[in-house]
């Protein structure tokens, strides 16, 4: 649920749009662990760059977690 308090906003658009809010200062690795996402299967986007798992994010930041996996037969 969105609120007006400062937070870290985490967005995923695929397979469906989801949003989460975290408060404080956390590593990307910790956020992915909380969301039960494998760092090998996703990229984490902030603006026009990428964040590595050890990078810290804090209130006021928005990041996109994007699946890097696509499937189907070749």
């Amino acid at each position: 649920m969105a609120s007006d308090k400062p937070c870290i906003r985490v967005v995923m658009t695929v397979p469906e749009r989801k949003e989460w809010e975290f408060r404080g200062r956390h590593s990307v690795e910790k956020i992915l662990r909380r969301l039960e996402l494998n760092p090998e299967s996703v990229i984490v986007i902030h603006g026009d760059t990428l964040l590595t798992p050890d990078e810290m994010v804090e209130n006021g930041m928005e990041i996109e977690v994007r699946s890097a996996i696509s499937g189907g037969a070749a």
Partner: protein, 302 residues
Amino acid sequence: MKCTKCGGRAVIDLKRHNSGFCKEHFLEYFDGQVRKAIDDFAMFEPEDRILVAVSGGKDSLVLWDALLRFGYQADGLYIDLGIPDYAPASTAKVDAFLEHRPEAVLRRVSLSDDHGYAIPEAARRLRRAACSPCGLSKRYIFNREALQGGYDVVCTGHNLDDEAAVLFGNMIRWQVGYLGRQYPVLEERDGGLIRKVKPLIRVTEKETAAYAVLTGIDYMVEECPMAAGARSLLYKDLLNQLEARSPGSKQQFLWGFFEHGQPAFEEQEGAELTPCSECGQPTSRPGRCAFCRMTESLTAPA
């Protein structure tokens, strides 16, 4: 994390190489991996005409972008598969790519307009998973368009994860015929089968996604709706769980197979190819090819 090469801020962590890279050095690394695959497997020569199979997804657009930057004569081939919502969105991504590369040439084929069927109805009428008629249609059209256009080679965007997942699936079911043919280069064969190569074989799906984002290539993020539940997604998930706990496992599994396993399964002589009695394309079975037989059943009155 710091870049292994320059000490700047890293944008990607490549555990399998025990490295992290800043944007500049990741792009340099990525290009180097693609060039190495092309060279190591002697995929094509600078003077060859290349046809790149593009879908609007990250792998094929990144591959096309890289080959154009390297200076190859690389044209694209896009097949509209007739999947509602997904096909128009994919087309838009390919068109957006072209806007920034006026030198790029794209060939287009529409299954509905040119062959009278679309993948969803093909899957329904054949009572098969959509990937089956989709794969058959793509393989047939890639080969036909390459021959008609006078290309030397077809390039596809299959990456390390794609091929590791295919290998895993083929080994679970011990599909020895498929294992014998799984290699980054499928040589051309007499009878009209064109050479097919996979220059992204040394990079992971995560790396192509990262490359696309960092270079501003806008790609189709949404998954093909017909691929939901595909076994390949399960295999990729399992392999990535392994990779997270044991970095480097995927590439050891795949590259080790190319070096030690594939030769043991390789057929010395494949089945002889003859021209399809209807379309003239090569087929390993006398008479009409699988594509012509499928098309007839799909376009016959229900």
